[in-house]
């Protein structure tokens, strides 16, 4: 126990301030949408992450925004296990053919008002997997998208900035 406490005090607080958005790539669709979102989601955001066929690199970066350095929870952002509790769906992957139904069902199970954010090049455009018998070419083909965060994979900073921008902060 002493060792654990010692490690806690030795480590201290490592959370870094989030740099302001300078990257024009982070795109939010719709100005009106932003106003609605700001009104509803000011305090906290429950995110349900859905992997619709990604290679897993985007998932690693989404894990990273939960680490003590990026610390998404200080913004009120937390990840939830069920789409029923979610305000936002964070979707990765080009939507593989076998995940199409699961993605649709997850989307339908999320009660409105809800946001969908496409994370990574594959979710935005299909990435290197493109459109084929097995890859649908981006999540827009299946569910409506409210914001896109491109990258392969997008860095945790870009992810946080993108999520916050999507909710109007």
């Amino acid at each position: 126990m002493i060792r654990i406490l010692g490690q806690i005090f030795r480590t201290g607080i490592v959370t870094e301030p989030l740099p302001p958005v300078t990257d024009p790539e982070i795109e939010k669709i719709g100005v009106e949408l932003g106003k609605i979102i700001k009104r509803h989601f000011r305090r906290s955001l429950a995110i349900r992450q859905v992997d619709a066929g990604s290679c897993n690199a985007c998932e690693l970066e989404i894990h990273a925004i939960n680490n003590p350095i990026y610390n998404c929870e200080r913004f009120g952002i937390h990840f939830t296990a069920s789409p029923r509790f979610a305000d936002m769906l964070l979707v990765t992957g080009p939507v593989s053919h076998n995940m199409e139904i699961a993605l649709r069902r997850t989307y339908n199970a999320t009660p409105p008002p809800k946001l969908v954010v496409a994370v990574g090049d594959c979710a935005c455009t299909g990435g290197i997997f493109g459109e084929s018998y097995a890859s649908l070419g981006g999540i827009e083909k299946v569910i409506p998208v409210d914001a896109r965060i491109p990258g392969c994979p997008p860095t945790p900073t870009a992810l946080l900035q993108g999520i916050l921008k999507a909710v109007g902060r």
Binding site: G53, L60, N98, M99, S135, P153
Partner: protein, 551 residues
């Protein structure tokens, strides 16, 4: 004798005396090839187009394909991979390949089936991984294994049209697949109090999708059945649409957390195919990237295993270490995961003296921090209670399933491509393999701890002996109808790539065998006698790739 040694020496390294000596020793010990030759005599003809020359490949008659498996099994070979190729454009029918491994030796046994009778004898009686490989071959290539007891599709789902075989040349990959009604038959348990618990494909955390079906009585698991394929993106088919150079980007994105090992295996297979010799500096840099990927993933996994036993403090502490480590990757190599840093011919990024100093001081810092966390993990009795004797994969089972990587090493198997199939600098840096026999969650975690320690030492050795020179050589076009093979020890285990050139030197087939393709079987077997709440812990201790498996 000397010509035989010359043909055994891996093509790029013929000038290296130490590799000649190694191959001399191998020659005396090359049991698999001898075994095949003595069992088959004239019936087994050597395939000349297989590169590198250290990998022997033989063509056997179709009706004796399973007999080869039997003979090699007697010689303690393990099945590393089994796949099919559509060679109709090369004027042959379907090729069915099985790659066997015994310690340092790989042996490829091929048979062929005519286009109008795409069947071959199943290897399931002798080798358990054949269960999955052959289902995959049947589902995606439409080549059936006669005698396989399980004809359900694998990776292909039950709502695909029956005659959709994507890997066939006749299949148009650009058209979307219609959905047909279908049902997947599950293994069921009957009796009072038996519950069937389906989990997935969308899982509770931030993780890839897959389906697990438990048959449980109360909390005790009677059986676990996996159903994967949810992340199938048609990668092997997509390779065939790219040039050799473009395809390295696809290889890097097969499994995002193993991007370095996949790129490396792909690049080595293409280099073997085209006779390209990367400069020594590139080889050293590749080893550096590989070890860095190993450390980063092991740090993350150790944290995640602790999180699954509700010891969250170590999750955050390990994630902090991993974050610092990834930032160094970004600073020195331009990408946190070093994606696209290894290409056929060499590497795309170099390191300067400042970079070397940065890494060495980072390792000093990491070592201190890491050891502190390991002591906290080791001393904690609640963690110990959860991780010891949970999810035991017995040694005999591990051997039967032909598992690879840290899963194998945690269950007593002595397997590591860095020792058994090395490329420079691994042939001169001593890699120590940590082997535990308990096969439980703790063993898989502890193997990772030892590997992190060893990788730090290996990186120091790599940087100390880093040769000067170029970082890439040019890659020529391959001859038609040749094959290249590579096996690399990724952080999960052995990654195998087998590439075949078509008549115009284009990609006819790129076979990817991620270690997950065999290791997923281990999860199903280790869970017997455990409780449902321990499943996430066992799954995390394996941490296999869904994307690398599903392709």
């Amino acid at each position: 004798m000397s010509t035989q040694i010359a043909s055994r020496t891996p093509y790029p390294y013929e000038h290296r005396l130490d590799i000649w000596i190694l191959n001399f020793i191998l020659l005396i010990m090359s049991k698999l090839e001898e075994t095949l030759r003595s069992a088959f005599g004239e019936s087994a003809t050597q395939i000349e187009g297989q590169q590198p020359s250290s990998i022997a490949a033989f063509l056997v008659p179709r009706e004796r394909f399973a007999e080869a498996a039997k003979a090699l099994k007697k010689e303690y070979a393990l099945l590393a991979a089994e796949w099919a190729t559509d060679e109709t454009l090369l004027g042959k029918g379907f090729g069915i390949y099985a790659c066997y491994r015994k310690e340092s030796e790989y042996l490829i046994v091929k048979t062929s089936a005519p286009a109008d009778d795409p069947t071959f004898p199943s290897l399931t009686k002798k080798f358990v991984p054949a269960y999955r490989f052959e289902r995959q071959i049947s589902s995606l290539m439409g080549v059936t294994a006669i005698g396989h007891p399980d004809q359900r599709p694998w990776i292909k789902h039950e709502d695909w049209p029956e005659d959709a075989w994507p890997l066939r040349k006749s299949f148009d990959a650009s058209k979307s697949l219609p959905r047909v009604p279908g049902e997947y038959r599950w293994i069921r348990a009957e009796g009072e109090g038996v519950y069937e618990i389906p989990v997935g494909p969308v899982h509770a955390g931030i993780i890839e999708p897959g389906h697990f079906r438990f048959q449980a009585v109360g909390e005790d698991i009677i059986n676990l059945e996996e159903k994967l394929g949810y992340v199938h993106k048609g990668i092997e088919k997509r390779f065939e649409a790219f040039s050799w150079h473009e395809a390295s980007r696809l290889a890097a994105r097969t499994s995002g957390d193993t991007t370095v090992a996949h790129s490396l295996a792909y690049s080595q297979a293409v280099e073997a195919l085209t006779g390209c010799i990367p400069p020594d500096r590139a080889l050293w840099l590749r080893a550096l990237f590989l070890e860095r990927e190993r450390i980063a993933n092991h740090l993350g996994d150790l944290g995640a295993i602790c999180n699954d036993v509700a010891f969250a403090i170590l999750l955050y502490q390990f994630m902090r270490l991993k974050e610092m480590f990834l930032r160094t990757n970004l600073k020195l190599f331009g990408h946190r995961f070093m994606m696209d840093r290894i290409v056929p011919g060499g590497t795309t990024f170099d390191i300067d003296a400042d970079g070397v100093t940065t890494i060495l001081s980072e390792l000093d810092w990491l070592e201190k921090e890491f050891e502190r966390l390991v002591v906290i993990y080791d001393e904690n009795s609640s963690v110990e209670d959860r991780v010891r004797d949970t999810g035991i994969l017995k040694s005999e089972k591990a051997r039967e399933l032909c598992v690879v990587g840290f899963v194998a090493r945690a269950s007593g198997l002595n397997l590591d491509c860095r020792i058994h199939h090395p490329f420079p600098p691994y042939d001169r840096i001593n890699v120590s393999i940590p082997i535990l026999v308990s096969g439980d969650v703790h063993a898989r975690a502890w193997v990772r701890v030892e590997e992190v320690r060893d990788s730090m030492r290996i990186i120091r050795e790599i940087l100390k002996t880093l040769p000067d020179g170029e970082i890439a050589a040019s890659v020529g076009s391959p001859m038609p109808d040749r094959a290249g093979f590579a096996a690399v020890e990724g952080w999960r285990g052995e990654v195998i790539y087998w590439v075949q050139s078509g008549l115009k030197g284009e990609i006819n087939r790129c076979m990817v065998r991620d270690p997950s393709s065999v290791n997923w079987l281990g999860l199903e077997q280790c869970i017997h006698g455990n409780i449902v709440p321990d499943f996430p812990l066992c799954n995390k201790s394996f941490n296999q790739s869904y994307s690398g498996h599903d392709l």
